[in-house]
Symmetry: C2
Subunit: 388 residues, 2 copies
């Protein structure tokens, strides 16, 4: 598609696809789950741990890195890969979601989003062009366009107007990137640290399928390297999320990876792979780990529970992670109750291993043509409610 | 000396000794620095990280583990080595220091120390015998006797009376351990998880050299496997600490390892090795790491300092640790200012590497007969005040 970026589907099983995503920093097996490294680090673990877990790609947040330490410093360091010492692919979001969720938004107009930093209250204007520039300086392998995010409970924005604005912003984002790809059109103030960076468009439209279709048509026309489904997992019922994902994925180009942003629980990943999604990211495994929730094939395990006080078995006896191979529930409960940082580390290692292993098993099942069987078996044993 | 425990000196250089300490869980090269794993984990890192750093022995705190999760649970798990998945040697303190520093002490009498838990205010009586029993259940390789700690600013205890009480307690501790070593004398309520556990006596006497001599004579007479110097690094001037250490070490048996408790800065380790000390522990490298202070051969480096904002060089360009080989001061500053747990992990990896590497260099210098030269060079370049 572009210099250094391509996608090929190796196997199909129903709507599920097993593929290979080639980026300037290496190949990623899809379906893929990307651990979230908001500020250039996945919370409570090191990049060495991530490599050991077999993570092939991570997500970093443009909003956070723009505010601190600043994309200028990251560019001077040679880009985010060098700054955070992560050699494999990185995807950066555009900052849009954080502006609408974290910052005090002062004003959203067609020009862009004016917001106050959650760190120091300083005023910033993020335009679609600026979001492209910042990500060019960060040098991620995949950059996302700035979009206007509207939750199901939004009172400030009309979903159709937000979707249409996202389309206008996507067009400006694409234009900006294309200018950058032309050496003659470059802005000397922007340091491009990864010339092979791909750009994904984002489909919006809330839970209205007709709006989603309209968004797909207008966005795909712009010819992005690939497309993401945004604006889901923001509070809508899970069956609605599945329905919108299935509807949207089916309308996206078959030969491009499809990225469902910010989702989800382990069963969500499987259900959305079954609907043709190839890429995922979510803070859930890392955030829940820090809160003492271990995710297993049977469901979540709240490690502080008194019933684990004397339990000398590992969190999941069949799990191959470092934590499960060495430590008992009683030990992990002790560390968590003691407020030891090592508890967050060990729980994070387990949860990320579980997510990444689930993706490996998904890919394997697709390869064997047994994905539907795997899916049924997983849904049969997995419960969202703590069971253990 | 006892089943599984022995010490032999391989080389001498002045008063400095390079030796090998054999324990039921393997051999330790001395002089050794033991990272502190208070509650059965070294803060912010994993046991895998510790192994990778080359740590040969860790210290765990009896007071903390007794209160939570309880030595009974640890014994049921098979001992502390299995509970915390650490296969190499462990030394446990007796809990005395924490009772005098952390807990609300209700009453100290010859029987023992009655104190209220800092966790829930519950009342506990720690006798010398109980401290032996708890450590027998923990199953450390080296157990310490209960002693009465008196700081230089103590108003509640007379140093001589405290020293004499420590001697009486040491005698009862030794008797209790000897009963345990006799199968006929065992208390069925105590599970001995490490039959080869050694027991160290502790020399007290504050900064009064005559009291120290008196303590040495009475304690050595009891025939412990080895001896520690306690009650230092509690606020006295550093030259007093060196003087008391030198005086006491010289009076301790030459053929036994000498352990200086709770010390110190890197230059302290070298100065005390020069006075015949073989073993050290200190929370300083781990605690300072979490506070953003990186220790280097030139002195401490406060990573939050604005001058590091754009500094793309590693904390110490000559350091071989994971952190220095991969990350810049600017990145570490960013993580620290962002409150990322990974900052604590990376700083801890560096500081412990620096301590352990300093010990390796000390041992090497003793082996080469060039310890005095090493010491002078270190003191010439190292400053306790932040320099960078």
């Amino acid at each position: 598609m572009t210099n250094g970026f391509s996608f090929r589907i190796l196997q199909r099983d129903g709507l599920a696809r097993r593929g290979e995503l080639t980026t300037p920093h290496g190949i990623v097996q899809t379906p893929v789950f990307m651990p979230v490294g908001t500020r250039g680090a996945v919370k409570a673990i090191t990049q060495r741990d991530l490599e050991d877990l077999g993570a092939e790609m991570v997500l970093a947040n443009t909003y956070h890195l723009y505010l601190r330490p600043g994309d200028g410093l990251v560019a001077r360091a040679g880009g985010l890969h060098r700054f955070m010492a992560w050699k494999r692919p990185i995807l950066t979001d555009s900052g849009g979601y954080q502006i609408f969720s974290l910052a005090a938004t002062a004003r959203i107009e067609d020009e862009g989003a004016e917001f106050r930093s959650h760190l120091d209250g300083s005023l910033h204007l993020l335009t679609p062009e600026r979001a492209v520039d910042i990500q060019a300086q960060l040098g991620s392998d995949i950059a996302m366009v700035l979009d206007e995010c509207v939750g199901p409970e939004s009172r400030t924005s009309d979903p159709r107007q937000a979707m249409l604005r996202s389309i206008r912003w996507a067009r400006r984002s694409r234009t900006r990137l294309q200018q950058m790809r032309d050496p003659a059109g470059r802005d000397a103030a922007v340091t491009i640290t990864n010339p092979g960076q791909a750009q994904f468009g984002i489909i919006q439209g809330g839970t209205d399928l007709a709006l989603r279709t309209e968004s797909v048509q207008a966005t795909v026309e712009m010819g992005f390297e690939a497309y993401a489904i945004g604006g889901l997992s923001v509070g809508e019922p899970v069956d609605v999320m599945y329905a919108v994902t299935g509807h949207t994925a089916a309308e996206l180009p078959d030969d491009r990876p499809r990225y469902l942003m910010g989702t989800g629980m382990p069963d969500d990943l499987i259900e959305c792979v079954a609907r043709g999604v190839d890429m995922f990211d979510c803070v859930l495994p890392t955030r829940n780990a820090r809160n003492g929730q271990l995710l297993t094939r049977f469901g979540p395990l709240a490690i502080k529970n008194a019933r684990f006080a004397e339990d000398l078995s590992p969190p999941d006896p069949d799990c191959g992670c470092y934590t499960c191979r060495h430590f008992s529930r009683a030990y992990l409960r002790h560390l968590f109750l003691s407020g030891e940082m090592t508890a967050a580390t060990l729980n994070t290692l387990h949860n990320l291993y579980f997510y990444l292993d689930t993706m490996r098993r998904i890919r394997e099942a697709i390869g064997f043509g047994s994905f539907e069987k795997f899916r049924q078996e997983f849904q049969r044993t997995f419960s969202r409610r703590p069971q253990l």
